[in-house]
Symmetry: C2
Subunit: 414 residues, 2 copies
């Protein structure tokens, strides 16, 4: 049959677009796609604009109130403080929870050669909290195949990184009885259901679509072109027969907003092949030490605090590299005060200092000029040091056997 | 990392091109690609032109003589009569055989809902002969994923067809101890090495290349775009760890010439990722009953003799549909004689009548007008009837257990 005649697959209309260039959050100031986050503004990306451009919904007070009502628990400070700022269909998930209907959590990570950085802890921290309050299964995809395709890395190198990174993830405290972590390079060769679902998805998405969504062009390698389906496949519960059997159950995906294009594509495809659309909780980016114009990146050591940094490294990095919103001289600072909106030490405290009262006090004192930049940085160092130490202690205790259990396809205990 | 910056994979230069539109054998008369074979000439495709356009080598007397010398056996009539007419690197395979170095055979089939047709028997017949004389492993890929992507077929339907078609293939007499038959929908979920090799290949091929090779365009679904790598993956012996462990061994692929684009792509990629180029033996197309302008197609019942046709169906189809090179009246036929070059019954005899002397006698008598069309057709019917019957008997004896053994990844006994 001719290629053209055979291509009788109904075209997907990307119905969730609400603007001209919807998938790349690109305007005069910001550029956001799965590989790039750059903002010209020193307070970072304009997230309200991103919600409009991506066509998602704001996490508003009403949703947070419902969250607390339905779960009977106060919402996590990452939600309360707006780091998770956008969602898709979170109300449906809460309704399912009220009705006692099942759902699962899905998140992922593109492995990197270095240790995870503190920014990576954010989605996993929320993920663990969601797993605890909803008591539901969690699948975590390590996209070692993606890394091989996008970077100068062999299959073996990327796979090894996936295993190392999985230990960092386990160290976040996930429940071994409710969590399945998998590397694409292993799991796709373990359960036929995954590849079958990949093909179901790949049959529904044209090159035109991934071109529009991910900026691919004719010189893009075919592995990259097909990859979005690999990241979409865990949205189909039947990809995990050990956990869900043949049941079709929707998932909730906590992720950084830059991953949304993958899941917007997934949301277009899922209903066409008999599955619910995945629901999403979007986080903002964790800013680089040098400032909120770019997100923290594991491949740039100077702008990054790794979870395995020593106390001395941590101290040096914050003191040396954390962009300050303070003034040049003490006198000036006392007079004019600091700018919390651009001060990285303050911004990091918003992630890691749970106590609202203390945080507000710090904000007031720094803004007034009473608190100096060095003092503010010391507060952050004192809070982050035990967090990193705790993570490192957790990680040191993870045996290969534990890792293997997390990564074995198996029935989870819910 | 940006898509463009990250795309630092060295570009493949398709070095084996020797003409402007090399991958599609397309000129004023013929069109040949993996989905279409159409010729305007009533003697069918001009295969000499195709060799030039595809840049392969002719199977000449020298190669056939070396074949006989190296194997110590007369070459198969499908080689001797030029149905396998073109090759790539067959000399290297013969050299390996002389040196006692290992290689394997790889062929495949896109499953169809109907039974196989007699044209399908041709490559498998040669494959079985090659397996017997070389005593080497054979892997047979059932591309059920391809069928799901190209046709209006579900995963389950295509997979079921793969199992049914596998029985037809086994009925050709393959040695259960030396043959592994696999469905993509199953095997890719059984051995991680296959998917890992798929990604290695997909990292080396750009959309531009598959566009040029297979005629894809921007509206092609991403599954089709990625699929050529799936068909290339069995060229890497490490995709079959049960058979080859981690050994890198070259393969020989007997296939119809329309599949060459896949393997020309494979031959470009293999050396870049540390593997030998696959060698190839190309067959001509098996002509449709209506004439050599198109190849026999399992989806067009009237132009096709299925291996499970009854003697009555076979007889009717040949008598009713086989294009005749004879004259309109007996008188005229006796006077002018028949044209064997376009007569389908005679052409089929060249495939199925092994006896050169008898065949030559038939040719002379039909050309002279002594032999009438009805008589010629009867000879073909008398030869094909027991061949089909034998195949049907073989197939009836294949148990599900036998099928399962053929399709289980396992060490082969060579």
């Amino acid at each position: 049959m001719s290629e053209k005649l055979a291509n009788n697959v109904e075209k997907v209309s990307i119905q969730e677009n609400h603007s001209d260039k919807p998938y790349q959050g690109k305007d005069e100031d910001d550029f956001v796609d799965p590989w790039n986050v750059v903002s010209k503004s020193d307070t970072g990306v304009d997230y309200d604009k991103l919600i409009v451009r991506f066509g998602s919904s704001k996490i508003d007070d009403e949703l947070l109130a419902r969250f607390e009502k339905v779960t009977g628990k106060p919402v996590h400070h990452l939600l309360r403080r707006g780091f998770f700022f956008s969602h898709r269909d979170m109300h449906s998930i809460l309704t399912r929870y009220e009705q006692g209907k099942p759902f699962y959590l899905y998140t992922g990570r593109g492995p990197s050669s270095s240790s995870m950085h503190v920014g990576h802890l954010i989605p996993f921290t929320l993920c663990k909290w969601l797993q605890d309050i909803f008591n539901c299964p969690l699948v975590i995809q390590m996209t070692d195949d993606e890394k091989t395709l996008w970077k100068d890395l062999s299959v073996e190198e990327a796979y090894k990184m996936a295993l190392e990174n999985a230990k960092d993830i386990i160290a976040c405290g996930f429940d071994i009885n409710k969590t399945f972590i998998f590397s694409d390079f292993t799991y796709i060769g373990q359960r036929a259901e995954f590849y079958r679902n990949m093909i179901r998805i790949q049959k529904c998405v044209t090159f035109n679509q991934v071109k529009g969504i991910f900026g691919f062009d004719d010189s893009t390698v075919i592995g990259k072109i097909a990859f979005p389906a690999v990241q979409a496949t865990p949205c189909l519960s039947t990809s995990f027969p050990d956990i869900f059997g043949t049941q079709k159950i929707p998932c909730l995906i906590p992720c950084a907003i830059d991953q949304d294009p993958y899941f917007r594509m997934s949301r277009d495809v899922c209903p066409r092949i008999g599955f619910d659309k995945p629901a999403l909780l979007h986080s903002k980016f964790f800013p680089a030490l040098q400032g909120a114009q770019t997100k923290m990146s594991a491949s740039e050591a100077n702008s990054t605090i790794y979870v395995n940094d020593t106390p001395k490294q941590l101290k040096n990095k914050i003191n040396k590299h954390a962009f300050s919103g303070g003034q040049v001289t003490v006198e000036e600072h006392r007079k004019i005060g600091g700018n919390c909106d651009v001060d990285i030490a303050y911004q990091y405290l918003r992630f890691f200092l749970e106590d609202d009262k203390k945080l507000e006090e710090i904000r007031k004192n720094y803004t007034s000029g009473e608190l100096l930049t060095g003092e503010l940085k010391k507060i952050l160092i004192d809070i982050l040091t035990p967090i990193l130490q705790g993570h490192q202690d957790n990680r040191a205790k993870i045996t290969d056997e534990t890792l293997q259990t997390f990564m074995t396809p198996r029935k989870l205990c819910i």
